[in-house]
């Protein structure tokens, strides 16, 4: 029991540290593509570690399974969202350069 509590606390500290680190990265990183990297540690490391800590604390059962489902959902959706945001940023930039070029001179397409 004591080992379980200790391991849950260690996992909780790791997950919280990963989440806070990615929040700090979101604040200090310059540029949209650099800031996109801040999503990765939070979704792949932070939330699954917190869920694992809660599952270890809850013990085997339905509650643990639900927590692990949440962890899997976040871990799978994180990279998907990152790719979608990266593509959107890229398209917005391409559209902005298109607009800037078309105001200078109209390309014949």
């Amino acid at each position: 029991m004591d080992v379980r509590d200790a391991s849950a606390l260690i996992l909780l500290a790791g997950g919280t540290a990963a989440l806070l680190l990615s929040a700090l990265a979101l604040l200090v990183l310059p540029g949209p593509y650099q800031r996109l990297h801040a999503l990765a540690p939070a979704t792949v490391l932070g939330v699954p570690l917190v869920c694992l800590a809660l599952a270890v604390d809850a013990g085997p059962g339905r509650a643990a399974v639900k927590l692990l489902v949440v962890a899997a959902l976040v871990a799978v959706s994180g990279p998907v969202v990152t790719i979608a945001i990266g593509r959107t940023v890229h398209e917005e930039r391409a559209a902005a350069t298109d607009r800037a070029a078309s105001t200078g001179q109209e390309p014949p397409a």
């Binding site: 929040a23 979101l26 999503l39 990152t82």
Partner: protein, 98 residues
């Protein structure tokens, strides 16, 4: 005040303001990162609050948020990309293949 609630307080205090800050500033496509990370942090806060207050039913909230937050971000991406692609398509006389 147990360790779970303490972690939830720390995450809400130090993790949420940067996401809100990023969601409130800059171009629309650059606000998406703040929203996505905010959803992730809020999921963790929900889970930790559920354990800290001993209300296991609050876990459903985190489950719903884990589904809805990426969905909302993807919808946002889709609408933004559609709005950006539109002028190029009309400018290029409806490019073939699309």
């Amino acid at each position: 005040m147990n360790a779970w609630l303490l972690a939830a307080c720390g995450l809400l205090t130090a993790g949420m303001p940067p996401c809100v800050w990023r969601a409130c500033r800059g171009a629309p496509d650059q606000r998406l990162t703040g929203i996505a990370l905010g959803g992730t942090v809020a999921t963790a806060v929900f889970l930790l609050t559920a354990r800290g207050l001993d209300r296991t039913s609050y876990v459903d909230l985190a489950l719903v948020l884990a589904v809805l937050s990426p969905t909302g971000t993807l919808v946002f991406c889709r609408c933004l990309a559609g709005g950006a692609r539109q002028p190029r398509r009309t400018g290029a006389e409806r490019a073939p293949g699309r």
